[in-house]
């Protein structure tokens, strides 16, 4: 079965520019997660979708970050404008359901460097 796809794999931008990341979850997985992983730290959940609805976005910096999953399948995470501290790997994951006993399958991530 195909895994979670993410693109691009790498992105370098200057501060105050905008950037968007794309994620396609495993087919049939209703729940999609976006995480931010700063070098040397564990992943930090930014937003969690169940189908096309938001389950949790309590840690998403909403003044600059936005995410959507319009058709309940693939998703886009946007940063506008980017700051130096946004340099990180952005991981997308999916699971069959939102209930806790479902394992999450992670994509390879997008490494963002903000100069």
């Amino acid at each position: 079965e195909a895994g979670v796809a993410q693109s691009p794999r790498y992105k370098i931008i200057e501060k105050r520019q905008s950037v968007a990341f794309w994620c396609n979850p495993i087919s049939g997985h209703a729940t999609l997660y976006w995480y931010q992983q700063i070098l040397g730290q564990g992943p930090k959940l930014l937003i969690q979708f169940q189908n096309n609805g938001v389950v949790d976005d309590s840690q998403l910096p909403k003044d600059r970050f936005s995410a959507e999953r319009l058709k309940g399948v693939d998703s886009t995470l946007k940063i506008q404008p980017a700051k130096l501290e946004d340099s990180a790997v952005y991981l997308c994951a999916s699971s069959y359901r939102v209930t806790s006993y479902n394992e999450q399958f992670f994509g390879p991530g997008t490494r963002l460097t903000v100069l």
Binding site: G42, P43, L45, T99, S100, Y101, F106, P108
Partner: protein, 113 residues
């Protein structure tokens, strides 16, 4: 948010058993404990999950005491390819079906020949 604490790093030799403990004092009553493995430049990969007592699969065991305030991942007979960062993941309950998920800071396991 659920708060978790793990050792920053551990060293072991090939063939030994390794135990990594995560403390999670405010885990939600109904939440499971999940452990992931992460190699450089890859996303985390699921290892094992449990709610209480002991769970074993083909790669690891997970021990959870009755108070569920900690958990221990046990890797039997590690090999060089087990060198990776290991994370525990727990959730704090919120309204409805949402969980505020929190990864630990990770434990870098280095297996030496």
């Amino acid at each position: 948010l659920a708060k978790t604490t793990q050792p920053i790093s551990m060293d072991s030799y090939e063939g030994q058993e390794v135990n990594i403990t995560c403390s999670h004092n405010n885990i939600a009553t109904n939440d499971y404990i999940t452990w992931y493995q992460q190699f450089p430049s890859q996303g985390p990969r699921f290892i094992i999950q449990g709610y209480k007592t002991k769970v074993t699969n083909e790669v690891a065991s997970l021990f959870i005491p009755a108070d569920r305030k900690s958990s221990t991942l046990s890797l039997p007979r590690v090999s060089l390819s087990d060198t990776a960062v290991y994370y525990c993941l727990v959730g704090a309950s919120t309204s409805g079906s949402a969980r505020q998920l929190t990864f630990g800071s990770g434990t870098q396991l280095t297996v030496l020949p």
